[in-house]
Structure formats: structure tokens, C-alpha cells
């Protein structure tokens, strides 16, 4: 295989590992993750059903809250900036679902491998370990994109969901949001491997985002201390900026501050994810706990 440039060798005794090796290892994991996913076709039923079913709880409660003749719509509009409570909720729930799926799939990736007994086997091959995680991240990114496409189509049919803003701007915000979420998933994957506990950590992290990020309400209705917490969460900026563009037709000037914050979150989480992975990898090898669970 022609090397496109040398990088630091992951394991000295195997010699120099090229970027080409990294890429091949990542692609192999990407393909394996998709093969596993396709092996359980019922999960694809969920892919079509959840985008519609999950927001239903909030959409129908909001319909009742608005009143049979829209008695409370003006109150909602004064706080949310739009009377379209359905679109408002759908943006929040869609992005939260992407986070939820990422935490379970990418966040639980290393732990699942550990429980199945394949983590130690994979890590003792000469394949660069960071590339294995990159492959899983790429698989997660593609699955999140697929989820959003299916969600967009089904929500349009079921709820009449429509986008009004600039599609290119929405796409930029979406990519920044997905990179942030994947970065968070990487940090989470290492944390899970270290603490050896997936379920309760997913419940905790996704719960924090659910409570503070304003998935079904404008964060302005939160008490001051809760609003302060919401400013520390990337999903708050992702949801707010995408709602502004998609529902009210906001332009770049209106959302550039949120986009900048999202970009910073994306870089910080992706770097932190890489560092956390290196730290956990080193710790596991030194303590010899790779196969423990």
C-alpha cells in the first residue's frame, strides 16, 4: 500500500503506520458497523417510526395547551417568536434524538465491544486504535444523516413540517451540530469504557440536555440558574439557530454568534474525545482491564 505520509506509529514493533493504514482500518470498521446495523432490520422500522412517534407526546400536549380555538397561541408566540409550535418542537426533538442515538451507538461502541469480547482482539492487531474509533464515528455520522433525511420526509407527511429558511445555512448549522454531537459521543465512549456503565450514563447525559436545552420550550421561560446551565450546552445553540433559520427565515447575521459557539464546541469536543480516548487506552493497557466488564 502506497503511504501518503508517515504518522506516529501506534505500535513500534509493527513499524511505521501510514495514513493509508489509518484510512483502511477506519473504512473496515465503518463497513462492519453498517453490516451489524443491517443485520437487525427491525431497527430500521424504528428509524421510520421514532421521528414521528417521539415528538407526538409534546406536539399533542402543545395542541391541547394552545386551546381548541388557539386561546394561548399569542402567549406562546410572545415567548418563542413563532406561533408554529409544531415546527418549534420538531426541531428540538429531532436534534435531541440525534444526540440520543449517538450516545447509545457511538458512546456505547467501545463498551459493547468490551462486553462481546472483541475489544481486546481488535486492539491487539496492528491496526491504529484511533482509526478504529474514527470508523465508528463515521458510521455514526452517516447513520445520523440518514435518520435526519428519513425524519425530514416522514415529518413532512405526518405533521406537515416545512422549512422556510436558507437550506445552505441550515446545512452549515447541521454539520456543525453533528460534529459537536459526534465529539461528545467520543468523549462519552471513553467515559463509559472507564466507568464500565452505559445505561445510567446515557440516561444522565441525555436527561441533562432534555431538561436544559429547550427542546420543547424557549429557554427564556427557565429560571436564571437553569438558563445559565443551558448556555453551557451545545444543543441549546444548535436548536435555537436552526429554529431561527428554519422557521423564521433568519439570515447568517442573525445566527453567526450561535454558529461560532457551535464551531468552538465541535473543536473542543473532538479534541477532548481524542485525548480522552488516548488516556483510557493507556490506562486500560497498563491496568490490563481491557477484557474486564
Amino acid at each position: 500500500m502506497a503511504a501518503t505520509g508517515s504518522v506516529a506509529a501506534a505500535g513500534g514493533r509493527y513499524g511505521t503506520i501510514s495514513r493509508g493504514h489509518h484510512w483502511r482500518a477506519a473504512v473496515a470498521v465503518f463497513r462492519r458497523e453498517w453490516a451489524v446495523r443491517l443485520r437487525y432490520p427491525t431497527e430500521f422500522v424504528g428509524l421510520a417510526v421514532w421521528p414521528v412517534l417521539f415528538p407526538a407526546v409534546y406536539v399533542f400536549a402543545a395542541r391541547a395547551l394552545a386551546g381548541p380555538d388557539g386561546e394561548a397561541l399569542a402567549v406562546f408566540q410572545s415567548r418563542a417568536g413563532t406561533a408554529d409550535y409544531v415546527g418549534y418542537i420538531l426541531f428540538g426533538t429531532m436534534l435531541w434524538m440525534v444526540l440520543n442515538i449517538t450516545l447509545w451507538n457511538l458512546g456505547g461502541h467501545l463498551r459493547r465491544e468490551q462486553v462481546r469480547g472483541t475489544l481486546e482482539a481488535c486492539w491487539t492487531t496492528p491496526a491504529p486504535r484511533i482509526a478504529l474509533l474514527m470508523g465508528a464515528s463515521l458510521a455514526q455520522l452517516s447513520q445520523a444523516a440518514l435518520y435526519l433525511v428519513v425524519a425530514g420526509l416522514t415529518l413532512r407527511v405526518v405533521y406537515g413540517f416545512q422549512l422556510y429558511g436558507n437550506p445552505a445555512l441550515l446545512l452549515i448549522l447541521l454539520v456543525l451540530s453533528l460534529l459537536t454531537v459526534v465529539g461528545l459521543g467520543l468523549v462519552f465512549a471513553s467515559l463509559v469504557l472507564w466507568l464500565k456503565e452505559t445505561d445510567s450514563l446515557v440516561f444522565l447525559v441525555r436527561g441533562i440536555f432534555m431538561v436544559f436545552s429547550g427542546i420543547t420550550f424557549p429557554v427564556e421561560v427557565l429560571p436564571d440558574w437553569m438558563r445559565a446551565v443551558s448556555t453551557a450546552l451545545p444543543l441549546t445553540y444548535a436548536i435555537r439557530s436552526m429554529r431561527a433559520v428554519g422557521l423564521a427565515g433568519a439570515g447568517w447575521g442573525d445566527v453567526q454568534a450561535d454558529a461560532a459557539v457551535l464551531a468552538v464546541f465541535a473543536v473542543v469536543f473532538l479534541v477532548a474525545g481524542g485525548l480522552a480516548f488516548r488516556a483510557v487506552e493507556r490506562m486500560s493497557r497498563q491496568a490490563g482491564t481491557l477484557s474486564h466488564y
Binding site: 412517534l53 395542541r63 391541547a64 440516561f203 420550550f217
Partner: protein, 275 residues
């Protein structure tokens, strides 16, 4: 004598299940926190439609402006719905994955009583969670309207018994389908949506409302809300009570028959140990 033997089986299952539950305290704590996490966005959504603490639109739709009490009462019933789907049905799938189901099924213990033991644990845990969560919710969200609690509890009891009858039939479905994660997840969520646990079913689209009217839980929770919160009931409360009692009898009978038939079929197919 036979009953005493069967009760010993139930006791053994209860001890085993409680031991496993207590072995993962973080999960137990998180499960207790989950309702608060689910209710908080609902509470603030209610706030975003309210002016000076009054949910005028909701009052016009349901007859009560106490949106949170409406949702919390639905949440109590929802805890049992989830317990039935996950605690009885899906736990068999977990036993399959752990490889212990086939061994358990090979013992001379009656399988129905193994399930009854599992159901008992599920009721106890769901009730414990409700008892722990309700004061927390009361403190955090300040529920106002509390009417005829005893009447509501009298409806809740047959409603829960009927639900567990359904749960036993659902356990049969899990045994047959094997890969039941998606079915369980979507099934339990769908039941919660169409039976109006989080919203009045009058706010559902017509097709879902028809589906909701076919689910006995809808009538049970509607009557409980009418008694406790003074909401406008879908049908007179005595009619709802009759529906709940009738469905309890039907589900108890149907649950056993469905489970026995599927159990016999699965043993013929020899798929108990595969998943």
C-alpha cells in the same frame, strides 16, 4: 398444596429479580430520576403557553388549568405501562440473551407462575418509584388540584391488574418474536400516546383518537382525572369503570391462553435458546 408450591416459585423469582435490581444501584437511582427528567420539559412547555400561571388554552380543552397534575396522573399509569412492556415482556428477552431462559424453562416449575413472580416484582418496583417520585414532583412543580384520591385508586387497581394480564400475553409474543427490542420500545410509547397519558386524546388526530378509544387504559386514566382533577370525562365515569373491569377480566383470561399457546409452540420450534 399445589398453590403453596407455586407460591414458593413466585417467592424465588421475586428474591432473584430484586437481587439483580439492587445489584445495579446506579440504574435504580437513574430510573427514579427519569420521570423528573421527562416531566421538566413538559412543565416548561406548559409555562410557555401560560400567562400568570394560568393555562387558559388547556383549561378550555380539558376543563382544568392544572396541566402538570393532568400529566403527572397520566405518568403514574404510564409507569405501570412501561413496567409491563419492559419488566415482563422484555425481561424474557434479556434472559434469552443471558442464556438463562432455557434452563429456567427446563425446570419442573410452571412457567406461568414464573411469569407471575416477575409481574409481582414489576408491580412492586413501579409502585416504589411512584411513591418516591410523587413527593419530588409535588415539591418541584407544585401540583394544585387533588380531589377524590380514593376513587382514583379504586380505578387504578383493576386497571393495573388488567395491564398485567396483557403483559403475560405480551411475554408470549416476545418468546415467539425473539428480537423484540423495537417492538417493546415502540409498543409502549405508542400506547402512552394514544391512551392520552400526556395529553387529552381529543388533541390527537382522528385516526389515533379511534385507536385510543379502543384501549381500556384511555377510559381508566380519563375517569381518574375526572375524579381527581374535575376534567370533562370522555364518557360518564361509571361507564369507564365498567370498561376497566371488563377489560381486566378479558385480559386475565386472554393473557393466560395466549401465553400457554405460544409457549407450547416455541417449545416445538426449539427456539428458546436462540436470539
Amino acid at each position: 398444596m399445589e398453590l403453596a408450591k407455586n407460591l414458593r416459585v413466585v417467592r424465588a423469582v421475586i428474591v432473584k429479580e430484586l437481587r439483580v435490581w439492587l445489584r445495579y444501584p446506579a440504574n435504580a437511582v437513574m430510573t427514579a430520576l427519569m420521570p423528573v427528567m421527562w416531566l421538566t420539559p413538559v412543565y416548561f412547555m406548559g409555562q410557555s403557553f401560560s400567562h400568570n400561571g394560568q393555562a387558559a388554552g388547556f383549561a378550555a380543552a380539558t376543563g382544568t388549568g392544572d396541566f402538570m397534575a393532568f400529566v403527572v396522573l397520566g405518568g403514574v399509569v404510564g409507569a405501570y405501562v412501561r413496567a409491563v412492556f419492559w419488566g415482563i415482556g422484555f425481561s424474557l428477552k434479556e434472559e434469552m440473551e443471558q442464556g438463562t431462559l432455557e434452563s429456567l424453562w427446563l425446570t419442573p416449575n410452571p412457567r406461568l407462575w414464573l411469569l407471575i413472580g416477575r409481574s409481582a416484582v414489576s408491580v412492586v418496583i413501579a409502585t416504589l418509584y411512584t411513591i418516591v417520585v410523587l413527593p419530588v414532583v409535588y415539591f418541584l412543580f407544585g401540583l394544585e388540584t387533588v380531589g377524590n384520591v380514593a376513587g382514583a385508586l379504586l380505578i387504578l387497581v383493576p386497571l393495573v391488574i388488567g395491564l398485567y394480564g396483557f403483559g403475560i400475553a405480551y411475554a408470549g409474543v416476545v418468546l415467539y418474536a425473539r428480537d423484540a427490542t423495537t417492538l417493546t420500545d415502540i409498543g409502549s410509547f405508542l400506547v402512552e400516546v394514544v391512551s392520552g397519558l400526556n395529553n387529552p386524546i381529543t388533541s390527537l388526530p382522528r385516526a389515533l383518537m379511534v385507536l385510543g378509544l379502543a384501549v381500556p387504559i384511555t377510559y381508566g386514566v380519563d375517569a381518574m382525572r375526572a375524579l381527581m382533577l374535575g376534567t370533562r370525562p370522555l364518557v360518564p365515569v361509571p361507564v369507564s369503570v365498567a370498561v376497566v373491569l371488563l377489560s381486566m377480566a378479558v385480559f386475565l383470561m386472554l393473557g393466560r391462553r395466549v401465553f400457554d399457546r405460544v409457549d407450547a409452540r416455541v417449545r416445538t420450534m426449539g427456539t428458546l435458546g436462540t436470539h
